[in-house]
Amino acid sequence: MIPELGHYALILALGLALIQAVLPLAGSYTGNRAWMHTARPLAWGQFIFSAIAFALLLLAFLTDDFSVVYVASNSNTLMPTIYKVSAVWGAHEGSLLLWAAFLAGWGAAVASLSRNLPLPIVARVLAVMGMVGIGFLLFMLLTSNPFERIFPPPLEGRDLNPLLQDPGLAIHPPLLYMGYVGFSVAFAFAIAALLGGKLDAAWARWSRPWTTTAWIFLTLGIALGSWWAYYELGWGGWWFWDPVENASLMPWLAGTALMHSLAVTEKRGAFKSWTVLLAITAFSLSLLGTFLVRSGVLTSVHAFATDPARGTFILIFLCIVIGGSLALYAWRAPAVSGGGRFELLSRESFLLANNLLLTLLTALVLLGTLAPLIYEAMAWGKISVGFPWFNTMFVAVTPFLAFLMGIGPLTRWKQDEPMRLARELRLPFIVTGAASLLTVILMPLITLDWYLVPLGIGLAVWLLTSHLQAIRERLRHKSRPGAILTDLASNGRSFYGMILAHLGVAMFVVGITLVSNYGQEKDVRMSPGGVQEVAGYRFLFHGVTTQRGPNYMAARGHFQIFDGQRPIAELWPEKRSYFASQKPMTEASIDWGLTRDLYVSLGEPLEDGDWALRLYYKPYVRWIWLGALLMALGGLLAITDRRYRLARGLGRARTGVADNAAVARS
């Protein structure tokens, strides 16, 4: 009975989404306020029924209801409760349900945080979100119903894929989906603006916090996925340029460009149609990501067994969304374009360069990801694009991005004096040069790529010093100590958010540079009592014992690590075999530190208690994820900026549409 209720709730949500897509939109054109007013309750209704469906599927998992096919294939009575919860989104049907519920949730958030938006805009935004909702709900109901029953029900479930039985992966998909789906709000705002033919600074101000929020989720989701791949897959890598990873990177790059372009649109009224195009692109790339993951057209480590009907459906959906919004764009964009002028040397120019480079990176990832499909379609053979290509492309483009990123924040809007800017940049430039030179001397790399480490370190120092200079410049006229705190408390949050996020990039660059160039990896055969040395650390192997986990048996290795004579860590890597699926699963063991990780992963047992295993030394690898975390924190700080706050008090006292509608903190 309960699964049928869930199914029914989904159908109701679809019904409400259908009305939400039509009625408020019609109202916004005919001026029928009653119709427009239905948008908010409908968005809430869609959310409530999607949430009910999700809760009922969760209940089916918690009560081990194996009469539901999805539960039977992804759960097991022995599984710990936390993984029964995360198993809800562990496979296709459930992750779609989560997706649809999040989408409706974003809709409900817009509905409740938009009290100060003009009614026609709310109506249009929510109608567009209703349309997207229809697509996903229909997809679920037609091709992937999570509540499908099986008779007779099996006595025991098939267990969740062991790779997914991990705390990191329990929260990685929800964060990622929140990000993907969050771009639907920016998309809806863009489409609403095109429909209304009005796109001004106020519009950008409404869109900004939503876009940044989605971007924060996506950043955290990608970072968590990378971290999970690092410790769970047992290869010690943190990014594989796998199609599915690329699918999450593309909306991130486009979304990053969008955030910067929105800044220009808000402050200077420029880049309007470009901003709209980016909003459409970011969301379309999110949908493309879904298509790539769910259709199985590409070989990927993430690929799951797939059903062609699903791929076809998403492809059609994708064509409607992209085709429809681009057609609308072509028709209406001339009406919304135009805006502030600026000189060649101005912050606008640097943000334009930022957008061009980020778009270029997005296009490169898209090219590399789709090249196998293009080759196959043209009958040029079946190919795969190796990660050296992606690395080469990013190493070639990102230094420019980082270099300009250091100058942009110091540049003035509209027009700047070359001499003034040069004075500002003199000190950062000198420090950067010195740091790079020092790197060449102190950290030699005897390979063809000797320039990579000085380049990476130099760029990080450049970002750090130029942003410190930007803070100094901002506080120049406030000599009191603690000026930075008063500034933070008043209206400087989006500025400091930007600084924090950019310093996150610097940290990220340091991590990538050092781990890529100084990391060490060793595949070895070890006997109990044997010692191996990696990067000056001695790994002593004590042998392997057998241990029982809740739903698996594990061979558990014991290692002691010495730095010189001093023992510094004990590691317990495991090789598990899960009862239900009989799948083997490697659990690496890591001694982590801010400056280096030591990593052991068990391979296969050989004769006489020997094991084939992998030892890694990963310097500064944590900085990669810490950098991403810093970026997300920067975004968080930026959206708490005053001007986005719900217009209470101050905001309401001022006049004008823009302030009146300063909304939406989420």
Binding site: N161, L163, L233, G237, W239, W241, G296, T299, V301, H302, A303, A305, R341, L344, L352, L356, L360, L367, G368, A371, Y375, E376, A379, W380, G381, K382, S384, V385, G386, F387, P388, W389, F390, N391, T392, M393, F394, V395, T398, L445, T447, L452, G456, F508, I512, V515, Y518, G519, Q520, E521, D523, R525, S581, P584, S601, G603, E604, L606, D610, A612
Partner: protein
């Protein structure tokens, strides 16, 4: 220069930059791709002798043998028509198994043994890489055709082909990869310059 002209120059420079970048990117792509071949194609010498490529199929049951060093394994990969021996030094992915689909990446070594540098892992054991599924189907279709021809040629007592003929798979023979003189760059070797993105 007027503002409008300035902007035009700006846009033109931008477009040129993007154009040059695209040209370089596509050029680099051509030397960084690896083609896929089935065992049948490899045995028919359709695969390049020197370059890096991917070989996929099913791991033949009971063919997995470990070399004395404990780290090198040798196994047979088949598309049910032809079989190629593959050797790999390193740790196999968790979901590697006999009788299951696999995609390996490497070069043909001496003695007709394919030396893999990489063995692809999968998240899901019921998943079949699309290339492998395709080559199995092609090999099956060819086998059926061959048997039918043999039967038609009057080989008496030839049993009718067992199983339904798989849907005629358009013979998608990959064009021979460009026989370049410069060898395809090898994937980054483990070592000081390890794989992984660099900024």
């Amino acid at each position: 220069m007027k503002a409008r002209e300035k902007r035009l120059v700006f846009v033109a420079v931008g477009i040129m930059g993007v154009g040059v970048a695209a040209w370089l990117a596509v050029g680099a792509l051509r030397s960084n791709i690896s083609y896929y071949f089935s065992p049948t194609q490899v045995m028919a010498n359709e695969a390049p002798a020197q370059a890096l490529y991917r070989l996929g199929g099913l791991v033949v049951k009971n063919s997995l043998a470990r070399q004395p060093d404990g780290l090198t394994v040798v196994f047979d990969v088949t598309d049910n028509a032809q079989t190629v021996k593959v050797s790999y030094t390193g740790i196999l992915p968790d979901l590697f198994g006999e009788g299951q689909g696999v995609v390996t990446k490497g070069r043909m070594g001496p003695g007709g043994v394919f030396v893999a540098e990489e063995v692809l892992a999968k998240h899901d054991e019921s998943y079949m890489p699309p290339e492998v599924a395709d080559s199995l189907q092609t090999a099956h279709a060819q086998g059926v055709t061959a048997m039918a021809q043999a039967a038609a040629a009057g080989a008496d007592g030839a049993a009718p082909p067992a199983g339904p003929a798989s849907p005629a798979n358009p013979e998608r023979q990959p064009t021979a990869p460009p026989a370049t003189t410069d060898p395809t760059p090898a994937p980054a070797q483990p070592g000081p310059v390890a794989p992984g993105g660099r900024a």
